[in-house]
Amino acid sequence: MIEAVDLAKIYNQGKRNQVEAVTDINIAANSGEITVFVGPSGCGKTTLMSMIGQLLTPTQGKVIVDKENITAYSDGWKAIFRRKNVGFVFQHINLLSNLTALENVMIPLLCHDVNPSPFRASALVLLKKLGLEERAFFSVEQLSGGQQQRVAIARALITEPKIIIADEPLTFVDEASARTITDFFEDLKKEGKTILISTHVSNLAKLADRTYTMKDGRIAQS
């Protein structure tokens, strides 16, 4: 279970261009549930997701995962936490060019003390589940936006994390791919993963077990 307590983020604190991106956020996300954050662009969804995923250090408050305050971790431990527990799906997809879909999926394994070769089969299974078995050996530049986002989802899952954080995962995705992705999120939920999604797309919001509506950096409705 994930809890955010009194979470706040102020960019450029004390400077003239200070921005209060997120203020007084208190949320909870359970295992085996999809928690969705909805709200207009600039309302602080991405900042909140970054803080929950330990990509960003909050100015105030804490993130508690399975009763442990992970905000207090050092940068090194936060990296280990992400490595072992979190799979990210980014709005901008963020695949590495000049690599194949399969190679991109296997990248997170390179920071683990494992031989990646045996995971090749798992990576191919993931790509197959996402309808990309015939594109596994294609360079990612040859794939459509929807296909690329599916590769990114496979990459987020290759290390079998218990938390999936997806920031606007359907922004650059066609309708068919969007359907595949939403179905896949439902399957992950059944597997007991804790899934947090930020979105402004209604069909993703429909998946939510719990929805938080954000406005001006605050939770407006839960």
Binding site: G76, I80, R82, H92, L110, N115
Partner: protein, 399 residues
């Protein structure tokens, strides 16, 4: 171990992906390393040849001096020198230059009656036999002389004396090319033949060779010093020790290679700046990639390790390319341009292969001087790169 191998795999992948940076660094550092290794191999070869040639050299060489210039030394000194403490053998030598065609060659006449000096061991032969003990107008010639004149064992050489009188000599042997530079242009003959050729009076020689007792290696340097001091008291003469000759050779070639070292340092600094710039440029490109990697679980230390591995691999690769080019340039191509500078007098003498000595020490040093500056030049950009915020991955490439 798996983790190390994984990071190495990623580093290799980066080298492949950032092609422009890879090519620029390999090219610049490879050229720099090839220049350094080429000069170092030649310099080592020349010093080694010098040491080889001095292996059988006398402990002391006594030369005449008049108004500060070298002149002949009277043979009457021989008796006095023989009495000096520690001296076991004294031998006379006459040498100078002779003209064959337009080529100036070194003519050396030695006293073969001195049984204590094993000339045939000091100057190993490739073909033929060594000089006989009596003067009979026979010569042993260097490899370059043989190649230049097309002379073999049995050929007859005609050399012009200073008074333009042609004299003929039969070639009885050709020196081995092992220590090419110091006997390549040499014509060795009996001392009496040389006296006749140069027209020296009976009581003068070019120099007197002095050998000191070899019995105790520990006390030998002291004996040499004592003998040198004693002989140095003779009027109008100077005493040159073997150590001075060796140091002179090392200084000569060391200075020549030193000149190139300065040029090379300048090039290396330029290369380091280029490497720094390239890494900074790539750093900007890859900053976003680093953010992504960190989001995927890579730590800052992982990223620094990857970047340093890249530098290490690039440095080693550039060093290996430089060494290979240096070896090909020196050994196969004969070091055009650099050769003339290093040998200095090659325009006067017949052409002979530049001595090249490829030592493990030089190879290791070349690799070190390519890897270490690159590591230093890239460590700051790598660190700056590695500290990229993982949140960049969330914000996208324009963040």
């Amino acid at each position: 171990m798996n983790r190390f191998r994984n990071l190495l795999t990623y580093a290799l992948n980066c080298i492949q992906r950032y092609k422009v940076r890879t090519v620029v660094i390999l090219l610049c550092l490879g050229i720099s390393a090839s220049l350094f290794s080429s000069v170092a191999f030649m310099s080592d070869g020349l010093v080694k040849e010098g040491a080889l040639s001095l292996r059988y050299a006398p402990d002391l060489t006594v030369q005449g001096i008049s108004s500060g210039r070298q002149t002949n030394v009277p043979t009457k000194y021989v008796g006095y020198i023989q009495e000096a403490p520690g001296v076991t053998l004294v031998s006379e030598r006459i040498w100078g230059y002779g003209n064959i065609g337009n080529t100036l060659l070194v003519i050396v006449g030695v006293d073969l009656q001195d049984q204590g000096i094993n000339y045939s061991q000091a100057y190993p032969l490739e073909s033929g036999s060594f000089l006989s003990l009596v003067s009979n107008r026979t010569v042993v010639i260097g490899k370059a002389v043989s190649d230049l004149l097309g002379a073999r064992v049995g050929s007859v050489l005609t050399i012009l004396t200073e008074s333009n009188t042609p004299q003929t000599y039969e070639v009885v042997g050709v020196f081995d090319s092992q220590s090419s530079i110091y006997n390549a242009d040499l014509i060795l003959m009996n001392i009496n033949d040389a006296r006749e050729f140069f027209g020296y009076p009976e009581d003068e020689v070019t120099d007197i060779l002095v050998y000191v007792s070899n019995i105790d290696a520990l006390t030998k340097p002291s004996l040499v010093n004592i003998a040198a001091k004693e002989i140095g008291d003779l009027p109008n003469c100077r005493v040159i020790t073997k150590d001075i000759l060796l140091k002179a050779q090392e200084t000569t070639y060391g200075n020549r290679s030193g000149f190139f070292s300065i040029v090379w340092y300048v090039i290396l600094v330029a290369v380091a700046i280029i490497a720094f710039n390239q890494t900074v440029v790539v750093g900007r490109e890859s900053k976003f990639e680093v953010g992504l990697l960190k989001a995927l679980g890579f730590s800052t230390s992982d990223i620094i390790q990857i970047r340093l591995m890249e530098s290490l691999i690039l440095g080693a690769l550039a060093g290996a390319i430089g060494l290979t080019v240096g070896i090909i340039y020196d050994s196969i191509l004969g070091a055009p341009v650099l050769r003339d500078f290093m040998l200095g007098w090659a325009t006067l003498y017949p052409a002979f292969p530049v001595p090249v000595f490829i030592s493990l020490q030089t190879i290791i040093f070349t690799l070190a001087v390519t890897i270490v500056p690159l590591l230093f030049a890239t460590v700051v950009p790598s660190w700056l790169n590695a500290t990229s915020d993982p949140d960049l991955a969330m914000r996208g490439s324009n963040a």
